[in-house]
């Protein structure tokens, strides 16, 4: 501990706080820590010895490090706190350091209205305000609380083995609810059924039937297919038959005629 402290604070005469070690988890943030330090040493909150307090505060942060104290602690290791929490503590550390330097530097002693300027006034105000709410929170906690200190009839804590029966089914209520939903989505939903004029399956069967008599030129076959819809259906039928390997499609030359052959016909 002595060595770690010496790194951050090379102070002659080493004013040790002699404070018992504490854990940050006990505290609700930097203000809470400062109040602890101030009260446990009976410091005057309006006349805080900033240098001493800053040193003790940093010491306390360092204590949160490995309690076995490495011989060569690096800066990163010194304050190895949860970054979320550490952020607030580090902001306070820099505030304290800034206050300390402002106290050391020459500064105007009086403001425009002739009042004393104390750089620590803001921190003191912040501490007092926080202390008030801390006290109020304690008082709030001490009030008789429902379900902890006082109990009202008919609010019973649920035991783990309580059986919760399912509600009775009610068809009418269900139908009513369903009707309300239907009304909300805008009338009854209807299915629209379209008549399929061309059928790929039908076309496949027809094509296979014709191919049993021998190969067929694609152009010829498509010639007597009426209409765009029929053409598309026939093409789909050919592709499907080809995919299922029921027919073979042959094109002997580029841009040449395409011949359809039934698989059996090839053998």
């Amino acid at each position: 501990m002595q060595s770690t402290q010496a790194h951050l604070f090379p102070v002659a005469g080493d004013i040790r706080s002699g404070m018992p070690p504490v854990h940050l988890e006990q505290f609700e943030g930097p203000l809470d820590v400062l109040l602890h330090l101030i009260h446990s040493q009976q410091m005057d909150i309006f006349d805080i010895p900033i240098a001493l307090l800053t040193r003790q505060y940093l010491e306390l942060l360092e204590q949160q490090d490995d309690p076995r104290h490495q011989t060569q602690p690096s800066c990163e290791q010194k304050i190895r706190l949860d970054l979320d929490i550490a952020g607030d503590y580090l902001v306070m550390a820099s505030t304290l350091a800034q206050l300390k330097s402002r106290m050391l530097l020459p500064r105007p002693q009086l403001d425009d209205e002739g009042n004393t300027i104390d750089p620590r006034a803001e921190l003191a105000a912040q501490l007092i305000t926080y202390e008030q709410y801390r006290l109020l929170a304690e008082q709030l906690n001490e009030r008789p609380r429902l379900d902890r200190d006082v109990f009202a009839r008919s609010i019973f804590p649920e035991a783990a083995n309580v059986e919760r029966p399912l509600p009775e089914g009610n068809l009418d209520a269900l139908l009513l609810a369903f009707r309300r939903v239907l009304k909300r989505v805008g009338g009854e939903a209807r299915h629209q059924i379209f008549v399929e004029t061309m059928n790929v399956r039908e076309q496949m069967r027809m094509l296979l039937a014709r191919l049993t008599f021998g190969g067929l030129q694609l152009d010829e076959f498509l010639q007597d297919t009426p209409g765009r819809e029929a053409l598309v259906t026939t093409m789909l039928a050919i592709l499907e038959l080809w995919r299922q390997q029921n027919i073979t499609v042959i094109q002997s030359s580029c841009y040449g005629p395409v011949t359809l052959l039934a698989k059996q016909g090839m053998q």
Partner: protein, 196 residues
């Protein structure tokens, strides 16, 4: 309670049967318009006095009336139920206290006062209990939520209204504190140089 008048007896029955605090207005609505509100109030006060020394008390909470067990028997009720209500963390209590006394207030204000970040889970816990709720948005950049206490806060913390919060009148405002800080410093200004 022999010799109690019928109205008081009727109100007593209603209070026992209700599972939430009954307001005088609600009692009046149920009892009928021919019953004077002054009579209802007199009956309530009579009941409150009657139960003041019993194991059950008639408590005034959230602007209503509710039968509750006396606080001094808490231990036995807990034993009876074999359950303890979960302890509140200090951060939850402090956050709640700040919201209760400063409402409406924002999360940023709470964090500034406590000097530490408020975790979202604390806010969520307090909201789930019905103790705090969003009362609006503050008209500043980002339009942050404004928090205030809900009715359940009064019910659970045995408060009739926010005015019953302990010592709310003694709460110093920021300017008071600043003044205190400065005036004390004037007195100390001579010693200052030695203490630094």
């Amino acid at each position: 309670m022999s010799g109690t008048d019928p109205l008081t007896s009727r109100i007593e029955a209603m209070l026992l049967a209700s599972d939430e605090p009954l307001t005088a207005r609600r009692l009046s609505a149920v009892l009928g318009e021919h019953i004077a509100s002054g009579d209802i109030r007199a009956s309530l006060l009579e009941l409150e006095a009657h139960y003041s020394s019993r194991g059950i008390r008639l408590a005034q909470v959230a602007d209503g009336w509710q039968f509750r067990t006396a606080a001094e028997h808490a231990e036995y009720i807990q034993r009876l139920w074999q359950a303890r209500s979960p302890r509140l963390s200090r951060s939850a209590l402090e956050t709640l206290a700040i919201i209760a006394y400063r409402q409406p207030t924002t999360r940023a204000e709470i964090e500034a006062l406590r000097g530490v970040k408020t975790s979202g889970s604390v806010i969520v816990t307090l909201q789930e209990r019905g103790w705090i709720k969003v009362s609006g948005r503050k008209d500043v950049p980002g339009r942050p939520h404004l928090y205030g206490t809900g009715r359940q806060f009064l019910i659970d913390f045995n408060l009739n209204s926010l005015a019953d919060l302990p010592e709310s009148n003694q709460l110093l405002d920021d300017s008071d504190i600043r003044q205190m800080a400065n005036s004390t410093n004037e007195a100390n200004s001579n010693e200052q140089q030695t203490t630094i």
